[in-house]
Each structure stands twice: as structure tokens, then as C-alpha cells.
């Protein structure tokens, strides 16, 4: 654990791209309150509830995710972020709730069909398919491969053409994610960070309209953090909507266009990253429970550092 995280993680220059400017501009007039309406939401969820025994893991009245923006979902451990992810992507069934993705109702739809509808997720604990090669992992992410039908699989000419397209697409993504040298290695031989990259690249094979990343930075070494951040921003710049769960405030502050804060299953605050951290509800959520909460694998979030960040913010806004 580096004692001076700022030395290990060089400060990221906030990039200014047309996509970022557009996302920020679109969100400028959105009120900074939980459940705020967005000008162009891709995902709209209402009354999503999930109980585990007596615990309300998720209890969300209304939430909207802006299209083409990077939205961060933050909150202390046990806030229900991953459970909300699981519900929205069909990996868990809610006790109640309905939501639409791109105008299409996806409540109660199984995970595979959610993915086919264009909303693809990654996992907190990376699910690289260890005993398959990197390129086979990538190919598996592709859609519209007729050879995935049992009978068509027996007649290679029916799917070989598509396979070549898929392979070309996969190799391009691997180059972009700097995994091209690992092409024929088993995914199990990659480092933790490389597996995160592979999982993200694999999710992109399906060309999703929205990608949901569950703690993309967990277990990634600082050297790779930079490139992961770059990749996530590149996704937004290509027009993909990104929603991610993250504990690393450094990352949240630098790449997200909008932040949603959850605690105890509820959304307690929303706003742009510059101001949401000063929201009293957020400070309560984090610092009130801080003594027994692991806010990430990074020293960034101990009191002193958070204090320092806040001071920097005040300085910046002055």
C-alpha cells in the first residue's frame, strides 16, 4: 500500500473532449437531488426493491441514467450498489420494480436477454474464462455468430465468414487494450489487472449501447489504472453510456460526468462529481460509518486525504 498515493497515481488531467463537454452541458440544468430527471435518459428505473430477509438491500424510488455520459455509482460497503447492478442486468430478481432501457421494458427479463438488448456488464470479481485463451474469450463476446447454433456449428462454411469478422474485431480491441501479445495465452495466466482489461474488452465485443462496470479498478495496479481510465473515457467518446461502481474517489472525480450516491439501499444524493462530495448526506454516508467501512483498496480515502481533497476543491472553486 503506497503511503503517498499521489506519487503512485499521477494526477489525471481532466480531459476535455467533445463528448465530455456535451455530457456535462446536457447535465448542467439537472437538479442535484436524488432521482433527478435527466434530459435524455437511456435507463429509467422505478420502485426497485430487493429484500434479503429483513434487510432492504435496494430500495430505489426513481433513478435515471443519462445517455452518452459516464455515471458513477458510489456509496459505502453494503449500500446495495452491486445488488442494484444485479437487478438491472437480470442476475437477480427484485421483490418489486420496473425499468426501461432505451424505451424497452427490461424488468424480469433474464440476464442473457438484457445483454442482447445492449446492456452488458462486468463483475466485481473478474470472470475471465481461465481455461480458454484470450482470443477465445474475446470471440465468445461477439453476437450474431450463426455457428453458435448446434446444427450450423457442424457446417463450417456457414459460420467461418462471421468468425473472421469477429476475430478481426477482437484483435483490434486487444491491440487497443494492449493485450495483443497475450492473444493465445490462457486467460488464467494473465495478471488481475489484465483480466479486468480482458473482461472489459470482451464486453465490448457485443458493441453494447450501455456498459456497466462493477468496480473496474479493484485489484488493478496503479500503472494499469491510467490506461483503464483512458479506456472508460474512450467508451463515452465513442457514444457508449457507462455506469460504474467504484470506491476509488480519485477515479470517480476525474472521469465521471455525474455521480449517484447510495447508502443503505437508497439513493441519497446526485450531482456532478465536483459538488456531490460536499453534499452533507454524502459526508454522513461515508464518514458516519467510516470507522468500520473499507472504502476501497486505496489510502486515498482515509480522513486526512479526503480532507485534503475537499480543501483542494474549495481552493479550486475559489
Amino acid at each position: 500500500m503506497p503511503t503517498e498515493p499521489s506519487a503512485a497515481v499521477p494526477p489525471v488531467a481532466t480531459p476535455s473532449t467533445a463528448a465530455r463537454d456535451a455530457a456535462v452541458a446536457a447535465l448542467r440544468d439537472v437538479p442535484h437531488e436524488p432521482g433527478a430527471r435527466k434530459p435524455d435518459p437511456i435507463l429509467v428505473a422505478d420502485d426497485v426493491r430487493r429484500h434479503f430477509g429483513g434487510v432492504n438491500a435496494v430500495d430505489v424510488d426513481h433513478v435515471e441514467i443519462q445517455r452518452g455520459a459516464i455515471t458513477a455509482l458510489i456509496g459505502p460497503n453494503g449500500a446495495g450498489k452491486t445488488t442494484l447492478f444485479n437487478l438491472l442486468t437480470g442476475f437477480d430478481k427484485p421483490n418489486s420494480g420496473r425499468w426501461t432501457f432505451d424505451g424497452k421494458s427490461l424488468g424480469g427479463v433474464p440476464a442473457a436477454r438484457v445483454a442482447r438488448a445492449g446492456m452488458v456488464r462486468t463483475f466485481q470479481l473478474t470472470k475471465a474464462l481461465n481455461r480458454m485463451t484470450v482470443i477465445e474469450n474475446m470471440r465468445l463476446g461477439a453476437t450474431q455468430q450463426p455457428g453458435e447454433n448446434l446444427f450450423a456449428a457442424l457446417v463450417a462454411p456457414l459460420w467461418r465468414g462471421r468468425e473472421q469478422e469477429i476475430t478481426a474485431q477482437a484483435e483490434e480491441l486487444l491491440t487497443r487494450f494492449k493485450l495483443d501479445t497475450k492473444r493465445d495465452d490462457f486467460a488464467g495466466s494473465l495478471s488481475g489487472g489484465q483480466r479486468k482489461l480482458l473482461e472489459m474488452a470482451r464486453a465490448l465485443m457485443a458493441k453494447p449501447r450501455m456498459i456497466m462496470l462493477d468496480e473496474p479498478m479493484a485489484g488493478v495496479n496503479p500503472a494499469l489504472t491510467q490506461s483503464l481510465l483512458g479506456h472508460i473515457q474512450a467508451l463515452r467518446d465513442d457514444g457508449t453510456t457507462v455506469l460504474f461502481v467504484e470506491h476509488d474517489m480519485h477515479m470517480v472525480r476525474h472521469i465521471s460526468d455525474w455521480v449517484i450516491v447510495m447508502t443503505e439501499g437508497r439513493i441519497v444524493a446526485e450531482g456532478p462529481p465536483e459538488s456531490v462530495m460536499q453534499n452533507p448526506a454524502v459526508i454522513d454516508a461515508y464518514l458516519g460509518a467510516h470507522h468500520d467501512t473499507d472504502l476501497g483498496d486505496d489510502a486515498l480515502l482515509d480522513d486526512a486525504v479526503l480532507e485534503q481533497l475537499r480543501a483542494e476543491d474549495e481552493e479550486g472553486s475559489r
Binding site: 481455461r131 459460420w159 457485443a206
Partner: protein, 328 residues
């Protein structure tokens, strides 16, 4: 030791119909386990259903092709019944359900209520249902001898059955070879590794697991037909131990490989025959009687299976890096 007597018997096991039948059953199990990661502990149930389906249909006067279709249909229905409730659950449930279901098939088959249909515990005699297969042979009746191997051309444990049996095994190998390299096989391997990941990529995992269960089960049913053609349908000889022989063969040869099941079956039966015959020659009957030697052979099978899983889980042909069994 009389090698001129031992060797032909051991070498004969290399291409015996039973070896082919077990190789085919292991190919089916390889689709379940090696490709998809499904723990089917009831492959003998599929084989017994195939044997019953074929024999009963033939006895009822159905032609050869129709009787084979009955066996395939029986295995398909059995796979659907097993799969619908269990494939949505985690892997171990399938193991429990399949081992129980295979026992149910055996116990129902041997129950006296069905004596007219299945012959209960005494089973169905071979010459009640062998004629359609033997009549399909293009060869004249008689005996052929190739070197030390002399068998009837068409009757029962015949050359005709060996030719057909191994042709079917080769066809099944070709099928697996095609599938393992196809995008369909890739989805199955993905499911073997982590089905949630495959689900998150938009594949209908349940449907793929069902296809795998049906396909492997149907291959098992055809293996059951091959198994009973040189003998009788005996429900008690197609129980749990048969399932474990098939598992031993698959793990010996190498799961997730194309020829592993074939190699495994040949080695399994040849070595078993060698051990039994040699022991009969060498060990005096005062130490171990013949039937005890028979039992001793099976002990060796059990020990082999344990040693395999501990020391060489990838089998003979398996890729060390792509272990068929490891801790997830």
C-alpha cells in the same frame, strides 16, 4: 505364463464391441463434462434406456432404424426430464438427480410389474432382439479369423458388430471434433468455466446446457444399444458401477479431448483383462479364487480412478494447462 494365450485375449479387448460401447458412452459423457462441465452421474441410465428402447421396439416387430430412433427418443425425453428442473440450479444438483434417476430407470426396469415388457430382473434375452441388426449385415454367415482373432461374421459377438460399433465411435469422434472447434463448442467451454460470465455476454446458458445434456445422453443411448447387442439386456449389469467405469475411462483418456474416451476405453479394458488373466495364471487358487480375482480387478479400477483424479486429472491426452478438473 502362457503369453500365446494371454496376448490374444488382451489384444482382442482393443477392438471388442464392449470397448466400443464404453468408448461411445464416454464420448457422450465428454460432451456433458469435458465440454460443458455438467456432472452427469447417471450415464448408465441413458445407456440402459437406449438398450430397453431398442430391444423392446425390436421385439414389438419394429425395423432396425425405427428401434434405434426409439432409443434416441427415450434418451432425449429422459434428458429433458432431468434437465428442466436441474439445469437452472448449480452443477451439483444435476449430479444428485442423475445418479438417482439412473437408479430409478434400473429399478423400474427390473420391477415385476413390467415383466411382460422388460423381463423384470432376468432382463431380455439377446436372441429376442438381435435379428434385425444381424440381418442388416451385407456379409455371408460363417466365421472369419484374422490372425489369432476368430469371431462369427454376423452372429452376436461378431465382426459385423465390431465394424458397425467402431464406425459409430469414429463418427461420434468426428462430431465432437467438429463441435469442439465450433462457436457452439466455445459457448459450452465458456459455460464450463463460468456460466454467469457467458450469461452476461448474452448467451442463453440454460438452452446450451440442455442441448449438451440431450446430445451426450443420446450418444449414451446408442452406446447402450452397442453394449447389449453381443449379450442380453440385464438391468443390474447397467447400474452405478457402469457409470463409474465410464467416468474412469473418460478421466483416464482425458476429458475435453477428442480421442481421450476412445484411448481410455481401450486401455481400461485391455489392462483389466490383462490383470485378471495374469492373476489367474500366477496367483494360486488357495490365495485368491477366480471370483475373488474378478473382484480384485474392480478394486484396481477404483484405485486407478482415485490416483487419476489426484495426480493426473487431465488424463493421458488432456492439456495440462486446460485441466478438466480443478478447484474453481
Amino acid at each position: 505364463m502362457d503369453w500365446s494365450r494371454i496376448l490374444p485375449i488382451v489384444l482382442g479387448e482393443f477392438f471388442a464391441p464392449t470397448t466400443a460401447a464404453y468408448a461411445l458412452a464416454a464420448i457422450g459423457l465428454n460432451i456433458h463434462f469435458g465440454l460443458t462441465g455438467l456432472l452427469n452421474m447417471g450415464q448408465a441410465g441413458f445407456m440402459l434406456l437406449g438398450a430397453y428402447g431398442f430391444a423392446i421396439a425390436t421385439i414389438a416387430g419394429w425395423p432396425l432404424w425405427a428401434a434405434v430412433l426409439v432409443a434416441i427418443a427415450a434418451a432425449t425425453v429422459f434428458a429433458l426430464i432431468l434437465g428442466i428442473p436441474t439445469l437452472k440450479l448449480r452443477g451439483d444438483y444435476l449430479a444428485i438427480v442423475t445418479i438417482a434417476a439412473a437408479e430409478i430407470v434400473r429399478l423400474v426396469g427390473r420391477s415385476t410389474a413390467l415383466t411382460d415388457l422388460t423381463g423384470a430382473s432376468s432382463g431380455l434375452r439377446g436372441n429376442q432382439y438381435k435379428h434385425t441388426f444381424q440381418d442388416a449385415s451385407p456379409f455371408p454367415d460363417g466365421n472369419w479369423a484374422i490372425g489369432p482373432f476368430e469371431y462369427a461374421v454376423n452372429a452376436s459377438n461378431s465382426w459385423w458388430l465390431r465394424i458397425v460399433g467402431w464406425a459409430v465411435v469414429l463418427l461420434a469422434c468426428l462430431l465432437v471434433w467438429l463441435l469442439i472447434r465450433s462457436p457452439w463448442g466455445r459457448v459450452l467451454k465458456g459455460i464450463r468455466e463460468d456460466e454467469d460470465a457467458v450469461r452476461s455476454l448474452g448467451k442463453n446458458v440454460y438452452s446450451y446446457k440442455m442441448q449438451s445434456l440431450v446430445l451426450g445422453g443420446v450418444i449414451g443411448a446408442v452406446a447402450g444399444i452397442l453394449y447389449v447387442l453381443p449379450r442380453a439386456v440385464q438391468p443390474d449389469s447397467m447400474g452405478r458401477s457402469m457409470t463409474f467405469f465410464v467416468w474412469t475411462i473418460l478421466l483416464l483418456g482425458g476429458a475435453a479431448t477428442v480421442f481421450g474416451p476412445v484411448l481410455g476405453s481401450i486401455i481400461f479394458w485391455a489392462v483389466l483383462a490383462f490383470i485378471k488373466i495374469t492373476m489367474r495364471e500366477v496367483v494360486p487358487t488357495t490365495v485368491l479364487r477366480n471370483e475373488q480375482i474378478e473382484q480384485f480387478g474392480w478394486i484396481i479400477v477404483g484405485v486407478t480412478l482415485m490416483l487419476l483424479i489426484i495426480f493426473r486429472p487431465q488424463g493421458i491426452l488432456g492439456d495440462k494447462k486446460e485441466l478438466a478438473i480443478n478447484a474453481h
